[in-house]
Amino acid sequence: MRVTNEIMALATFAIMASSGAMAQTLRVGLQDDPDSLDPATGGTYAGRIVFDALCDKLVDIDANLQIVPQLATEWSWNEDQTALTMKLREGVTFHDGETFDAEAVKANIERMQTMGESRRKSELSPIASVEATDATTVVFTLEQSFAPLLSILTDRAGMMVSPAAATSADAFAENPACSGPFEFASRQSRDNIKLTRFEDYWNADEISYDEVEYDIVPDATVRLARLQAGDLEVAERMAPTDLAAIRDDAGLALHTAPGLAVSHLFVNLGENGGDLAASPDLRHALELSIDRSVINQVAFSGEFTADNQMIPPSSDYHSDAVPMPERDVERAQELIEQSGIPSPTIEITFENSTTDARVAQIIQQMASEAGFAVELLPLETSSAIERYLNGNFELYIGNWSGRADPDPTLTTFFGSEGSQNLNGYRSEEMDAALEEGRTSLEAEARKAAYDEVAQIYLEDLPTIPLYHPTWFYGSQAGIEGIEIYPDGILRLTGVKPTAN
């Protein structure tokens, strides 16, 4: 054992020496400091970027949102689609030296389903039991068929941590041990997270950097400046208004992907809802008074996608049957007249970011041209979110990160029991269509169900979707292999430094 360690150390030294005097470090600028580095409790987008390097998942998505193998190499459903059998990759070890096997999968799923602080409970609730039939085969048994399961396993719910290291959530988050290409080295809160290359990674040939350093740089302008100064190799969420600067700079490259996220004007239909709550006519009038393309052009230099649906056009489940309506101020004025409320007032609450403030002011201007009196209420983020969660708003600019599968977005917002259904929307017709979508596995049947869902919510308008952000990563031009998928995550597999 000791001898092998020494050989390993020598080999590592030899590799480092041969690849040049300096270890190659990839410095990535993140907008936010991730929260917990335990996939069971993590709740931030920035955290998901770090997890890609740290923790492998059972399955992954590709650029077209199709499910592809990662720790599971193949899988199949039983006939009534209530049991999913997965074959696991052999020769995978965790960062702490433990072996990855079917028992580890069982332990992980059960940990995420039962641990007190787990945020994955509702995602994994359809799984009734997990069984390790042999070392590399695992069977998930469901209470009823649940189409989004594989898609859920492409995110944190599918990330496998070392069961030996995961005895307590706090201790694990301080020193996480997964099976990803990089292992945890250090973390300075609100400053940086450092990972080092995991030599025993199953796909080590595809990993070209020795270290990854995530620097927390909240300001988009500063991220760009540091990228331009060569102080970062990659930076996430570049501001749409800065893209021209990146495109004009021969030393930098821009990587984009249509996003899954959506920004929408969430309408409270409950007791705090004001004039819009009682009148679908007024909600349609508001929608018709807005020109989404102008919002996209003015606030985002036309770089985002203006759209009227919660599911982005890049997804197969975007409905073509209900296209984005053109702005029609006259029709909006007619609808206001029909509603019997001569000069409706609405108040838009939003988190006080400059982008949301800009969108809110554009909406205010456009809606006022149709006859709405629009008040704006910008609030500091935590008080805004508190009001949102308590249903204490008339309209709220919601920013939802979206998921690869349509179900988590649509059921959460429009299902009677949805966790984001904070505006009091109830529709039996909607619940039935959502149920149809999540229980049928046939793509065509699901597509039909989600077309119906789109019809219903665009008729009832419990929310007015505005646009889908696009993911923008900036990088040094020489770096090869960066490809951003619609989930907006930077994947380090295949990313290579400039060849000198």
Binding site: A220, T221, A239, T241, A244, A245, V294, Q297, V298, A299, N352, T354, A357, R358, A360, Q361, I362, Q364, Q365, L376, L377, P378, L379, E380
Partner: protein, 290 residues
Amino acid sequence: MNTATDMSGPRRRSGTSMALRRALTQPGVKIGGTIVVFFVLVAILAPLIAPYGPTEPDWMAIRQPPSAAHWFGTDDLGRDVLSRVIYGARSSLAAGITAAVIALVFGVPLGLIAGYFGGLVDMVISRCTDALLACPFLVLAIALAAFLGPSLQNAMIAIGISAMPIFIRLTRGQVISVKQEDYVTAVRAQGLGDGAIIISHILPNVVAPIVVQMTITMAVAVLAEASLAFLGLGQRPPAPSWGSMLDIARQFLVEAPWMAVWPGLAIVVIVLGFNLLGDGLNDALNPRDD
């Protein structure tokens, strides 16, 4: 008109008005006063002199550099920066003046009471003042504004309350020294009531430093309003305020610097104006400093 036997104030009061006349000859007061009067006129005449409406967007002309049509350029929503700076003078001056008046109206009487009566009343008022002063001015204003919610009115109240302790302390100190004067003892011996003594004999003799403090507070309040607006705790959008204009401009410093330059310059100039005015008045009203 003043005789040696009449020691009850008017002698001093006329000293103050002479000092005010002397103040007007101070270059600092002249320049500072001109700047302040200029901005006051701009604020009052905003609808007449602004070439566009302050919230009137032009979607086709976003972030345009200064031109004949838009002297100061346009902002991120295609609004005319010149018009927004002109209208922004309203919220800055309103905040500066209202906050200083709030501080004055509440601070001076409390200082008079604490200084004149002393004892337990003084103790309670002074300890509360100390507690407020323990918190840095801007931090207190931010905390109060966040608590009250974002609006120009609440920002004014927050700044006014934060600026109040300095008035209490200043007035109290002045009153303690003035109330020892012979003429106060004299009128008290004549049997004049406390209220009458405070209003007719003490207040007029402590007014000079308060006037100076008032101008300085206005400068500080204008800055504080800009800071609160910058943090999103002031004027609600889309109404313009120099601070919120700077907050938005910050993202476009490289590609649209004109968005930041003009409101920034306006803040610098008006604060300079108030400070010059305050300094000049201080020199004129405190001949002992000469």
